[in-house]
Each structure stands twice: as structure tokens, then as C-alpha cells.
Symmetry: C2
Subunit: 209 residues, 2 copies
């Protein structure tokens, strides 16, 4: 597998290609040139060719890319040709927002259960899923193997929670808490730190003058 | 200004330094070595020295870094030594979650107003701020200069909204919609595409086996 050597910068561009190709497919478009992709996606055509060459090309000179084939192949590379079972931990506003995203489900990300420690929230249904008491998490994971835990809990206890989740078999953590977690041999972490994102925007505005 | 040449990869690490140094400050720590920073932040010491050298160093051989000085300087580089006025457009779950983040306000990001087109939401107060009808946005921006618009609206109309916001003087857009926007000479964009983030996590889990 050559995929192992691909840089994360390339990987992070793939979902954009995937989404855009999906839109083309929905509109009945069957082939597309790298220059058309380039204009629509605001990436240079040579960048696109380079990115896709990482995965063995898929393009044909003078013809362009077969949209469906490219879409399917990128989906396979991203690992989207399977289902990921997820739990969400922390049913606050952000947790509720994520639980309500319909697109995730369509892409094979299946939210199985929601946990919280707040008695006011436990027992509510969000997007048809009951919020369970966090004390039931361990038992739940014994009988329901989970791929991804979404952490939308506040800062306190995040590290402990993450380490428990790994012990209990969770393979990936989508971490929205303000604490950065680190991937290890046992778990893959995707940190979404909104404060950092906002500070980066501030930097760019500040420099932009 | 040497800052112009700094790569976005370095810039994106600065908020992490900033946050960690802020915690040290809160705990009364006055100096820190690059190796201590390295362990706590899971970045190599040489990476830290290299990153900070981009901004003229701030470290002293054999002494380490003066925490307060470094914190202040990184804050200045990030443009956090001023106030950013913000509006939020789209008062759904995600918008409400962002409106309720207390930390943003502490860091100088001041949410001034919230807009939505849903009559069920208009007139509600979120974190003490009234949700106004989106039709009032133009008038509002005439009398209230705004730095940052947070876009938490659905896909439809996002591009039009973004182009209006730029016309009406907004300098930066923090874009949570599923549509990627592109920075231009008139506006700085920070896209937070949650689907892409989740797909990247899937990729890593898929590869991790």
C-alpha cells in the first residue's frame, strides 16, 4: 500500500474532492478535467494531478477523470466504504448540533448512543436517540463495539474519559473539548479546537491590513 | 515585518503555545524550558525553538523562556491584543453553542449580535443577546462595524451571504457551513468543515489497523 506515505496535507484535501465529486455525480456529470476541478475547487490543476497521482492517478490524458470512479476510489481511500459506529459524550448545545447532522449518517457514520452526566439532560431524546447516564457507558461499550467517540464535554475529566474510552475499545476520538489529545498506537485523535481556529482567523485579519 | 513569511503550519501551532503558556501563568509559573514545553505539548523541543525563532526567539540559553513575555508576544503576533467585534448568522444548535462559549469573550472576541431568518428563533435571547431578523443585518452593519461574521447557517445562500458581508465591511468570516469559502483581498476566511474533519478521522482509523 502506497497510501501509508501520503502526507496529512494531501489527506485533508481529499474530503473536499470527495464532496465536490459527489455533487457532480448528483448532477449527472460523468467526466471532469483537472482544470475544471481546479477552477471549482480553487486549487491549481497541477496540485490536483499531484494529489491524485499519490493514489495511482485515475486520470486519462485528454479525457479527464471519470467522476464516478474517482469518487468511489477516494471514498475507499478515506475508508468511507464501511460503517463507523459512534457515541457522543456531552449533550450540550454542540453535542446536540452534531447529533442532529443528517449528513454524517448518510456517509456511514452512525450515531448509536449519547451520554451525559447532567440529570436534566439524561432521558431526553436527540434526533431520536435517548441520552443515557454517563455511568452506563462502560456497560454499554461491553456489548456495543464503537469505532468513534465524539467528545463534546467540558475540559474537566477529558483526559481520564479519553483513556477510559481507549481501554474500552474505542478506536478514534473526535475531540471538541478545549484539551488537546494525542494519537497513540491504540487510538487515533482528531482535535477540533474552536478557540485555536478563531485565533488563527484573528491572526489573518490582523495581518491582512 | 518578518511575520508575513511565516507558514500557516507554524501559525496554527501558536494558539496551542498561547493556551498552554496562559495556563502556566495562571499557575504562577514564570519560566519554562523548551524541553518542558516539548513534553507538555507533545512537540519536539527543536520544533518549539524553530517555531519561536520565527518571531525573533524570546528564549535565553540556559534560562529558558520567560512565560509572561512569551505569552504576551505570541498574543501580539496572533493579534489578540485588541477586540474583535462579531456577529453570528444562524441561531441553530451550533450557533447557540458558539454564542454560549465564554472563553471567546475573555480572549477579546465580542459577540455583538445574532441573526436568523426563522421567526421561531427571532426575538429569543441567547447568552443575553437578542436574535434579530436577518432582514435587519444590512442596517445593523451600517451603524455597527464588525470584524468577524460567524456563519452557522445551512448551505443554501451561503455564498450570497458571504459576498454581502464583505460588501458591507466584514473583514473575516468564520465559516461553519458545508460550503467552502475562499479568502480574497477583501476578506479572510477560516473554514471549519466538520464533515471533512470526520472523514479525515475515518481515514486514520481505516489506516490504523
Amino acid at each position: 500500500m502506497t497510501e501509508r506515505k501520503i502526507s496529512m496535507a494531501v489527506i485533508r484535501r481529499l474530503p473536499r474532492y470527495y464532496r465536490y465529486l459527489g455533487e457532480l455525480l448528483d448532477n449527472g456529470v460523468t467526466k471532469v478535467s483537472s482544470s475544471k476541478l481546479s477552477v471549482s475547487m480553487n486549487v491549481t490543476a497541477s496540485q490536483i494531478r499531484q494529489d491524485l497521482n499519490n493514489f495511482g492517478g485515475f486520470g486519462q490524458q485528454g479525457y479527464g477523470y471519470n467522476v464516478e470512479h474517482l469518487y468511489t476510489e477516494i471514498g475507499k481511500i478515506l475508508g468511507l466504504n464501511r460503517v463507523y459506529k459512534m457515541v457522543l459524550i456531552g449533550a450540550g448545545n454542540l453535542g446536540q448540533a452534531l447529533a442532529n447532522y443528517q449528513t454524517f449518517n448518510k456517509r456511514g457514520f452512525e450515531l448509536i448512543s449519547i451520554f451525559d452526566l447532567n440529570p436534566k439532560v439524561v432521558g431526553l431524546f436527540i434526533n431520536g436517540i435517548e441520552v443515557l447516564d454517563i455511568d452506563k457507558l462502560y456497560d454499554f461499550l461491553q456489548t456495543n463495539p464503537i469505532d468513534i467517540a465524539i467528545l463534546t464535554m467540558p475540559q474537566i475529566g477529558v483526559e481520564q474519559m479519553a483513556s477510559n474510552l481507549v481501554k474500552w475499545g474505542v478506536k478514534g476520538i473526535w475531540n471538541f473539548s478545549p484539551v488537546d489529545l494525542t494519537s497513540s498506537s491504540n487510538v487515533v485523535i482528531e482535535n477540533v479546537n474552536l478557540s485555536y481556529s478563531l485565533m488563527t482567523l484573528a491572526y489573518q485579519i490582523h495581518q491582512h491590513k
